[in-house]
Assembly symmetry: C2
Homo-oligomer: 449 residues x 2
C-alpha cells in the first residue's frame, strides 16, 4: 500500500458531495429475486454528485456494444456529469433501437427525479444479453433509489450490491490522501465474475493490440478538483494497468464500462494538464492523484479476479525480456488464457511443458533455448525456476508443487530476447466455472449473457 | 461418403506393401502400464513400406517444436522415406540436444533392424513434455516391433493403439478407389485428445494467419503412384481443410505431425503435378486422389474431435458472409474457442448472446445489426435462426434448445458483410475436461504435456 494513502470506509460516498442508493426492482422478473435474510438482491444503483463533476470513461472495444455504452460514449464528450444509473440482471445489449431508447429513458427518468438534465446522467447495465429492459420495473427502481439516496457507507454498499451479477460479494474501496494541503478522497465500486477479459478504450475503438474480456463495471468518485482532459488521461493509464490486465475466461463483454466522477469539493488547487501552470507543486499533485487512481483501479481489478466464477487461484503472469511490449503482452495473454495452463493451476500442477507450449504458439517471438520459467510469491524477489534457458532446473517436483500450491503466486517468464515486459492477472479454470456457465436450460431466466 | 470410395479394413496396412506393428515397451516407466485384459496399452508403433515411398509431411507451427519434428523437417526434404517409428508417453519436446540425439537414435535403431539407412526413417513422439526419452525401453520396443511387423488389420490396430495418449479409442480408416483402372488404397491412423488446435505447415513456419492446437499425430499410407511434390501439395490442401480446422481446447501442441507415405505399388499411371503430361486422364485422377485424401483426413480429424478430452458435443461452426477469408476464420475461431460459448454447448443452452459477444471481440469485422445466427443438422439445409440481422427471431427457447440438444449440430453464422466463408470443427468445454487436465500431483508420472 502506498504510504501516502489511507483507507477509509464508504467507497463511492466517501468523497464529499456524493450520495448513493441501491434498490431491488426485480429486473430479472423472477417475482422474488435471489436474496439473503435482508431480502432479495438489489439490482438498481444510483450514484449522484451534489454538484456537476468532471467525468472520464473507458468502454468495451467489443464491436457488439450495448446500448448504455453507446449512450455514455456520447455523454462523456461533454466532460461533465452528475449521476450514474446502473442496473444488473439485464445487459440491454443486442436490443436494437428499443435498447437505445430504453438506455436514454433510464437517464431521463433519473434526471427527472433529481431535477437535472438527462445529459448529466450516465448509464450502465450488466446481465442477460438480448432481452428488452423491463422499463416499468426500471422506472419503479429509479424512483425508489432517488428517494433513498444517502452518503453513508451503508448506502454505498447497497449500490455495490445492486451492480452484482454472479459476483459472490460486493467490491468496494476508498482512500484518502493530500493534495495541496487538502484531504482528498477517491472511492469506487465494481462488479465482475464472468465474461472477464476487459479491453476498454476511451472511444470504444480498438487499440492496435488485442485486448481483454467479462462484463465488468466500475464506478469511481472523487472530490478532487481536476480538469476533465487530465482526468481522462490518468483514467486511461490506470485502466490500462489494471482492469485491462485481468482475465478470468478470455471473453470480452459487450458492456465493460469504467466511469469516474470528480466534483472538486475537496477544494484542492485544480489539477491541470497544462504544463505552463503557475503553481510549482501541481506536477507532484498530479503524480499523487495518478498514483491513488492506479491503486484504487488495481485493487478493484484484483477483487474482480479473486471473485471470478469458480476461481480458486490468482496468478500474476509476469513476462520480461520480450522483444517488444506487444510481444510481452501477447506471450502473457497466451499463457493466461491457455485452457491447459489454467486447469493445471487449478490442480496445483507446476506443468512448465504447457506453459512453454503456450508461449510457443503465441504471436510473440519465442526461442525455446532462451526461455526461463519460474515462480515467486506475489511481488516476491526470490524466484524458484523450473526452467532456465529452456532446460529443466534442479528444482524438485515437490518444491515446484509447493510454489504453485499457494492461492496467489507469480509466474515469472523471461524470454531473454529483449527488454520489454508485461503483466497479466489471471485465474485458474475450474470445474465450478464450467458447472456455473453450462447453465440450467430448465430455467431460461437464470441464463446470463 | 464419396460414392467412388469404398471403405476397407486394415487402415495403414490396407494399401499394398505396408506392414505395421505396435508394442508395449513401458515408455512412461510405470512398471506395468495401463491396459486392458490384453495387457498394458502399447506405446511404440512402427509402420514400414516394402519399397521406398514418396513422402509428404505437415508439422506444428509452434515455435517450441519437439525434437522428432525437427528431424522429420530435415528428412522429408529428400522426398522419399520407407518407415515411421512413433512412440506415445513421452513427447521428446523441450529436451535440448539430448532430445535431438534421441530422436535420431530412434531412426537409426529402426533402420538397423530393417536393414535400411536411417535417412529413410521418420519419427514422431507424443506425451509428456520435458522428460528425456527412456532410450533403453525405446530400443527394446523398436527391436520387438521390427520382429512383429505384419500386414493384417490387427497389426494396423496395434499401431493405432500404440500412438494413443488420452484417447479413449484407436482411430483408423482405409478406403479403396480406382485410378486409371487400378484399385488404389489409402489408409490412416491418428491420435488426439487434448492440446488440440493444430496449425501445421509444410515447413513448420507459420502462415500469415493464426492457426490451431493438441498433440495430434496422423500417419497415412497409400499404394498410389504419385510424384512427391504433388503429394505434398495435396496433403497441404487436405490438412488445411481437416486437421487444421479442429479445436478441442485452443492449445497448439509442440508435436503435431502428419506424415503420408505413397509407395506406388498399386501400379496406377504416375500422378504428376506437371500440367503438360501426356495422358489425358491424369487430371481427373489427381482430383480423385485429392478427394480421397480430403475424405480420409477429414474423417480422421473428426475422430480426434469426437474423442477429445471430456468432449460431449461436436459443433461445426460455419461462418459465411465475411469480408475476407481471414475474417471468416477469425470469427469462427473466436466462437469455437470461447470458454463461455463452449460451456453453453455443454449445457445445451442456445445462448446467442455469448456467440455474438465472441464475434464482436474477434479480429473480424462484425456489424451487430447484420448478424444472423442459426442452427442446422450436420450438413443440413434447414436452418433454425435464433437471430436475424441482429434481432431475436420468433423461434422459441424450446425449439432452440432442441437444436442444440443434438450431440452433433452446425452453428450457422452469416455476417452479411461479404462473400468469404470458413468452417471450424469445435468441441464443448466440460467438467470432465477440467477434471482430466487438472492432473493428479500425487502422481507426477501421470501428468501429461
Amino acid at each position: 500500500v502506498n504510504k501516502t494513502l489511507k483507507h477509509v470506509p464508504g467507497s463511492v460516498t466517501a468523497p464529499r458531495g456524493f450520495r448513493a442508493a441501491g434498490v431491488f426492482c426485480d429486473i430479472k422478473r423472477l417475482g422474488t429475486g435471489k436474496g439473503s435474510d435482508k431480502g432479495p438482491k438489489r439490482d438498481l444503483a444510483l450514484i449522484v454528485s451534489d454538484v456537476p463533476a468532471a467525468v472520464a470513461g473507458m468502454f468495451t472495444t467489443n464491436q457488439v456494444c450495448a446500448a448504455p455504452v453507446k449512450v455514455c460514449l456520447e455523454r462523456v464528450q461533454t466532460q461533465t456529469a452528475q449521476a450514474i444509473v446502473a442496473n444488473s440482471g439485464n445487459a440491454n445489449a443486442c436490443t436494437g433501437q428499443q435498447g437505445l431508447k430504453d438506455a436514454r429513458a433510464m437517464t431521463t427518468l433519473a434526471a427527472r427525479h433529481l431535477g437535472w438534465s438527462a445529459a448529466q446522467v450516465l448509464v450502465a447495465s450488466t446481465g442477460r444479453i438480448g432481452v428488452p429492459l423491463p422499463m416499468a420495473n426500471i422506472e419503479r427502481g429509479i424512483a425508489a433509489a432517488a428517494t433513498q439516496l444517502g452518503a453513508t457507507p451503508e448506502h454505498a454498499a447497497q449500490a455495490a450490491e445492486a451492480i452484482m451479477t454472479s459476483d459472490t460479494r460486493p467490491k468496494q474501496i476508498a482512500v484518502e490522501f493530500k493534495l495541496g494541503g487538502k484531504a482528498v478522497r477517491l472511492g469506487g465500486i465494481c462488479k465482475g465474475a464472468g465474461m472477464i477479459q476487459p479491453g476498454m478504450s476511451r472511444t470504444g475503438q480498438r487499440p492496435a493490440t488485442r485486448a481483454p474480456h467479462a462484463t465488468m463495471l466500475a464506478f469511481l468518485t472523487t472530490d478532487a478538483a481536476i480538469e476533465p482532459a487530465l482526468l481522462q488521461c490518468l483514467v486511461q493509464d490506470a485502466v490500462a494497468r489494471s482492469f485491462n490486465r485481468i482475465t478470468v475466461d478470455g471473453d470480452m463483454s459487450t458492456n465493460d464500462t469504467v466511469l469516474v466522477l470528480a466534483n472538486g469539493l475537496a477544494g484542492n488547487p485544480l489539477l491541470r494538464a497544462d504544463p505552463t501552470h503557475d503553481t510549482a507543486e501541481t506536477p507532484l499533485d498530479v503524480l499523487c492523484f495518478g498514483d491513488a487512481l492506479d491503486y484504487v483501479c488495481l485493487e478493484l481489478a484484483h477483487m474482480i479476479l479473486r471473485d471470478g466464477e469458480g476461481v480458486t487461484r490468482f496468478v500474476t503472469v509476469r513476462v520480461t525480456g520480450a522483444r517488444s511490449a506487444t510481444d510481452a503482452e501477447a506471450a502473457a495473454r497466451a499463457v493466461a488464457n491457455s485452457a491447459l495452463v489454467k486447469t493445471s493451476w487449478f490442480g496445483g500442477d507446476p506443468n512448465w511443458g504447457r506453459i512453454i507450449d503456450a508461449l510457443g504458439y503465441s504471436p510473440a517471438k519465442v526461442v525455446e533455448s532462451k526461455v526461463d520459467i519460474g515462480y515467486s510469491a506475489p511481488r516476491g524477489r526470490r524466484i524458484l525456476y523450473s526452467l532456465k534457458r529452456g532446460q529443466p532446473t534442479a528444482a524438485t517436483f515437490q518444491q515446484l508443487c509447493q510454489a504453485v500450491a499457494a492461492k496467489e503466486f507469480e509466474l515469472r517468464i523471461n524470454l531473454n530476447l529483449g527488454r520489454a515486459d508485461a503483466v497479466i492477472y489471471a485465474a485458474d479454470l475450474t470445474e465450478d466455472y464450467v458447472a456455473f456457465n453450462k447453465g440450467d436450460v430448465s430455467d431460461p431466466a437464470a441464463l446470463g449473457g
